[in-house]
């Protein structure tokens, strides 16, 4: 499947970055990055530690000033959007939340509704429904009344994902969503991301495991020292040549351990 066919099928990408450059002091931590993700697809951001995956996600979320380049969402250029408009267009899930206060899980998820309705108003019926739906989607209804900091790291991750879902934004940006999870939880999360994409969202996730990316992503973008080393369908990016060039390791096709959730496709 070529890039051109993809673009033809999805006329308006949920996010499109052109020539993205971010500097920290004089040093460019991201340079001339091109990126595009359409609704319905999972794009994996790959690369060794320090390659700029998190920086790229933060830039896409509008949290970093761009030295150069252009960032366009479905609703228009990111730079021209008001904060609440931006929050309805994209949802960002950090690796770990800085939240240490004992807000209840449902209050944390309800934060995703801030950009809907009036800023100084309260939660409406529609907001409560969206919160319930998001909690159900990540299977967190059982602990909705517990204090967020008292949850395990894996549970916290699910709540942060639910908060992102409650925004109903078409673009999901996730920074290593499975890093704190065990293998079963990680597979469940990837399954969920896949389903979310199939339901019409665009999912952009920084991912550490190349195997997981191969299994769940449609396309991949491989970063190396802040530049794009390879980009395209995931089987072309997670392939012997780019992997050797960036990581300096040999990719052995079919040699790795594989995992599957129980009762699935067997």
């Amino acid at each position: 499947m070529s890039e051109r066919v993809d673009e033809a099928r999805a006329p308006a990408p949920a996010v499109r970055a052109r020539g993205l450059t971010v500097r920290r002091g004089a040093r460019a931590v991201l340079e001339d990055v091109e990126l595009e993700a359409a609704r319905g697809e999972v794009l994996a951001l790959l690369g060794p530690n320090g390659a700029g995956k998190s920086t790229l996600l933060r830039a896409l979320a509008g949290l970093l000033p761009l030295a150069e380049g252009h960032l366009e969402l479905a609703g228009g250029p990111l730079a021209a959007m008001a904060p609440r408009e931006r929050a309805r267009a994209l949802a960002y899930v950090p690796q770990r939340s800085l939240l240490r206060s004992a807000l209840l899980v449902e209050e944390v998820v309800a934060q995703g509704r801030y950009a809907h309705g009036r800023a100084l108003g309260g939660l409406q019926g529609r907001d409560a429904e969206a919160v319930d739906r998001a909690l159900a989607e990540v299977d967190a209804l059982a602990f909705r009344g517990r204090a967020f900091p008292r949850l395990s790291v894996g549970e916290q991750q699910r709540v942060l994902l639910a908060r992102a879902l409650a925004t109903e934004a078409p673009l999901l940006l996730l920074d290593e969503p499975t890093a704190p999870l065990d293998i079963a939880q990680a597979l469940a999360t990837f399954d969920l991301l896949r389903r979310l994409a199939d339901a019409g969202r665009a999912v952009v996730a920084a991912v550490h495991g190349l195997d997981a990316a191969r299994q769940f992503a449609d396309r991949a973008l491989l970063l190396h020292a802040g530049r794009v080393a390879a980009s395209g369908p995931v089987e072309e990016v997670v392939a012997p040549e780019p992997v050797r060039r960036v990581y300096g390791v040999e990719l052995l096709e079919g040699a790795a351990l594989g995992f599957r959730r129980e009762g699935e496709g067997a």
């Binding site: 960002y92 801030y114 950009a115 800023a119 309260g122």
Partner: protein, 339 residues
């Protein structure tokens, strides 16, 4: 599932119990405040006057306490730090300095004709509190550093106190002005009448209602600037306006009771386990509890046997300082256990 559906009911019952307890305590404090004092209520002739005086004092104490506690909730959210409070950050000292300056200008130099000292005092406090918060926000872009925050607040507080001392010594040239400035600086509700209460009331009401309205973005800021921003919060706007509401609340409190320490720190702390941390639930409960705490301390100030009356700031300080120390030790211990 049953766990999830009984949860809201359990929480509502908890809230009812909390408010019932607070209202009972408020009634007790009000009764004590009206009946305790140097004079005897038994004399028919004086009774009406005494009750009116003590009533003004009770309302003043309650407003000051509610304002300080609500201000404490707001600065703790603003700086994402449960150990912040208007007195620790130097905001009350800034408001006190503003008030002293206002007294000096209006009562001493006769500037601002048409302004009575009663009106000028809250406005001076407002300017002083606003300025001290502005300095703090400008100096502390990265507010996660507890030590930097507490040190800057301490330095600001000390600076404002020294400047206040200077103004107090300037004011001694005029006996009446000197008395007014010293009485205001010591803190205390001895001289509070209905005039002062009415002058401070608008600041208090605007500050409290607005603070409640801004509860949701303040909740979002608890998760840090980045998360709040991606969820749609205009961080700079929320911070600036929150600082304005804190200034209004602290100014109302200081104009009424002078520099009263520790209320804004310990009341929100004591209430969080019962009311939760969400601002819209915590603020009203903390305001009510703050009113009870200061009205109670004011009764103590009158009841403790001494030659005059023990200043209110002394009582809240004696009660509050050990509690603050304990909170600090507990926070350090949690921090160490966390990492």
């Amino acid at each position: 599932m049953s766990d999830a559906s009984t949860e809201p009911r359990r929480r509502r019952a908890g809230a009812v119990r909390l408010y019932a307890a607070l209202v009972a305590l408020a009634a007790a404090a009000a009764f004590a405040s009206l009946s305790v004092g140097a004079a005897d209520l038994g004399e028919e002739a004086l009774r009406q006057t005494l009750l009116s005086l003590r009533g003004a004092r009770l309302v003043g104490a309650s407003l000051a306490g509610a304002a300080l506690a609500a201000g404490g909730v707001l600065v703790q959210g603003l700086f994402r730090n449960p150990l912040a409070s208007p007195s620790i950050l130097g905001t009350t000292a800034g408001a006190a300095l503003g008030g002293q300056l206002a007294l000096l200008l209006v009562q001493g130099l006769g500037l601002g004709i048409g302004f009575s000292p009663e009106m000028a005092l809250p406005l001076g406090c407002l300017a002083g509190a606003g300025l001290s918060l502005l300095i703090l926000l400008v100096f502390l872009r990265a507010t996660d550093d507890l030590l930097a925050l507490l040190l800057t607040g301490f330095i600001l507080g000390s600076l404002f106190l020294s400047l206040g001392g200077f103004i107090t010594s300037l004011a001694q040239d005029d006996w009446q002005l000197g008395r007014a400035v010293v009485a205001f600086s010591l803190g205390g509700l001895g001289g509070v009448g209905w005039g002062q209460v009415l002058a401070a009331l608008p600041l208090f009401a605007v500050g409290l209602v607005a603070a409640w309205g801004w509860g949701r973005p303040l909740d979002l800021l608890l998760a840090g600037e980045d998360e709040a921003r991606t969820l749609g919060v205009d961080v700079r706007v929320v911070r600036t306006w929150t600082a304005v509401w804190v200034s209004a609340l602290v100014a109302a409190a200081v104009a009424l009771g002078g520099n009263v320490a520790f209320v804004g720190l310990i009341v929100p702390h004591a209430l969080r386990p019962f009311a939760g941390v969400a601002h819209r639930r915590l603020l009203p409960a903390a305001a009510l509890a703050g009113a009870v705490f200061v009205a109670g301390c004011d009764v103590l100030a009158r009841a403790i046997p001494s030659r005059g009356e023990v200043p209110l700031g002394v009582v809240t300080g004696l009660v509050g300082a050990p509690i603050f120390l304990w909170l600090l030790i507990r926070a350090r211990r949690e921090e160490r256990g966390d990492v």
